[in-house]
């Protein structure tokens, strides 16, 4: 095991469109997309994140996405946006 730098590109392995907030601090953001992203460099490696800036109805399994970093409160989180297959954010 070790770490290595990756491109930030990946594809949606699976996702859910969340309609009910179980944690009240996420209620304002409904509906939102929680997804498992398989990273481009190794498709057996998946990360859990949000897919943002997209109509939840347009999200599909296999959709190419690219990481971007979003400030939420005091933290910066890696989230994903739809991308073209060469990795450009749409």
């Amino acid at each position: 095991m070790g770490s290595s730098e990756v491109s930030g590109r990946g594809r949606i392995y699976s996702f859910t469109v969340v309609r009910q907030a179980f944690d009240p601090s996420f209620a304002e953001g409904l509906p939102y997309v929680v997804a498992l992203i398989e990273i481009e460099e190794d498709r057996t490696v998946r990360v859990l994140s949000n897919v943002v800036d997209v109509d939840p109805g347009q999200v599909e399994v296999g959709m190419p996405v690219k990481v971007s970093f979003e400030k939420r409160g005091d933290t910066v989180l890696p989230v994903f946006r739809p991308a073209t297959s060469d990795g450009r954010v749409q």
């Binding site: 392995y13 009910q20 179980f22 997804a35």
Partner: protein, 386 residues
């Protein structure tokens, strides 16, 4: 299985309730006393107690030694509190089976008590401000509600890989009510149609409200002993043919090697490798339905149809309903009876094999399969009547 042959000789319930909080000691005592009475045994006969609970700060099931005190059992040769991991309530019976088969104990009392509060993962809750441990990778993205979003993503992936349709999941929800209407313990007994299912409230798409079991307070207990001892007892003994656990590789609810099936496939394979019985000899199946996806996984993992073939196999529900080739969750499962968390699948199988299920009895049931849980913590038992 190696060792002494094991039989289930008693089952008991504290009936599930939707409202009120009867208290976990009272629920446990009610179910355990009923199971002992059913077996024709008294507390002094018991020398092992095993229970399953979620653990944590607010207890949802009393510890084994608490139950020992409650019931006045003189001493225990074996006891265990299984918490959090393990194949839900069935874990208690699997543990007891090993204790009896090995000779560590002779008469085991097992139970799963649960409260509506503990089973109500969908309730809005105040989480910690700081996500710690594994939750740091999930909670900041709004991943909450227990395993609900994991199950939703498994459903979506399944649909993509195998062409499973939303209504295929719905056949399991409709089937539960169809059987549950004849179970006096069941809390949701009104029939539903596939249209009711498809039009119900989405929780985390594609997971719908009717894909989820219903939280209740209640308790289920069972008594297990040797086949030899069982011969002297009043009820028809139900024998444990074999059993198997499974975790799958990289066991985890989210980052598992086999995301869609978790450990169900390895448990299924292992189960059939330990018996000469075959899937087509099973008369009744009681397969965990905390979420419909779990039941569907077990049907395929246990080889009742090929992987990905549930939709064709189920014939709109005909296969699993009354008179079907594989009567499934004949008590209505947890979708109808309520979320008793696993052990109720075993006790229903026992009642079916004894022929005591009244209107919902499967004629001449001799072999039953029971399975619990999904993801990294699965288990299954194969039961038979001589």
């Amino acid at each position: 299985m190696e060792g002494r042959e094991v039989a289930v000789v008693g089952v008991g319930y504290a009936n599930p309730v939707r409202v009120g909080q009867p208290g976990i000691d009272k629920l446990t005592k009610t179910a355990c006393v009923a199971a002992l009475n059913d077996a024709g045994l008294v507390p002094a006969d018991v020398d092992a107690v095993v229970q399953y609970s979620f653990g944590g700060v607010r207890a949802d099931s009393p510890t084994a030694t608490s139950a020992q005190r409650l019931l006045g059992i003189p001493d225990l040769a074996m006891y265990n509190d299984i918490m959090g991991s393990g194949p839900s309530g069935l874990a208690s019976a699997m543990d007891a089976t090993m204790a009896i088969a090995s000779g560590a104990a002779d008469v085991a009392l097992v139970y799963r008590t649960i409260t509506r509060e503990a089973g109500h993962t969908g309730a809005p809750r105040e989480g910690p401000n700081l996500a710690e441990g594994g939750m740091q990778w999930t909670a900041p993205f709004g991943y909450s509600g227990g395993i609900m979003m994991s199950i939703a993503m498994k459903m979506r992936r399944r649909m993509k890989e195998y062409g499973t349709r939303q209504e295929d999941f719905g056949t399991i929800a409709v089937n539960a009510r169809q059987w549950g209407k004849d179970n006096d313990r069941a809390v949701l007994r009104d029939p539903i149609s596939i249209d009711d299912y498809l039009s119900c409230r989405p929780i985390a798409e594609p997971l719908l409200l009717l894909d989820c079991d219903y939280p209740v307070s209640g308790s289920v207990a069972a008594v297990l002993t040797t086949r030899e001892r069982a011969a002297d007892l009043k009820a028809t003994p139900v024998l444990v043919e074999t059993m198997a656990y499974g975790t799958g590789s990289d066991p985890d609810w989210i980052f598992a090697g086999d995301f869609v099936f978790g450990g169900t496939r390895s448990a299924g394979h292992r189960l059939w490798s330990r018996t000469s019985l075959r899937p087509d000899e099973v008369d009744v199946a009681e397969l965990y339905d905390g979420f419909t996806h779990i039941t569907m996984s077990w049907i395929e993992a246990l080889g009742f149809c090929g992987i990905g073939e549930f939709g064709d196999w189920v014939e709109g529900g005909k296969t699993i309903g009354p008179g079907g080739a594989l009567p499934l969750n004949t008590h209505g499962g947890q979708l109808s009876e309520g979320r008793l968390h696993g052990l109720g699948f075993l006790t229903e199988a026992v009642l079916q094999l004894r022929g005591q299920c009244g209107v919902r009895q499967v004629p001449n049931a001799r072999v039953a399969v029971v399975a619990n849980a999904h993801g990294p913590q699965t288990g299954a038992m194969l039961l038979r009547r001589d």
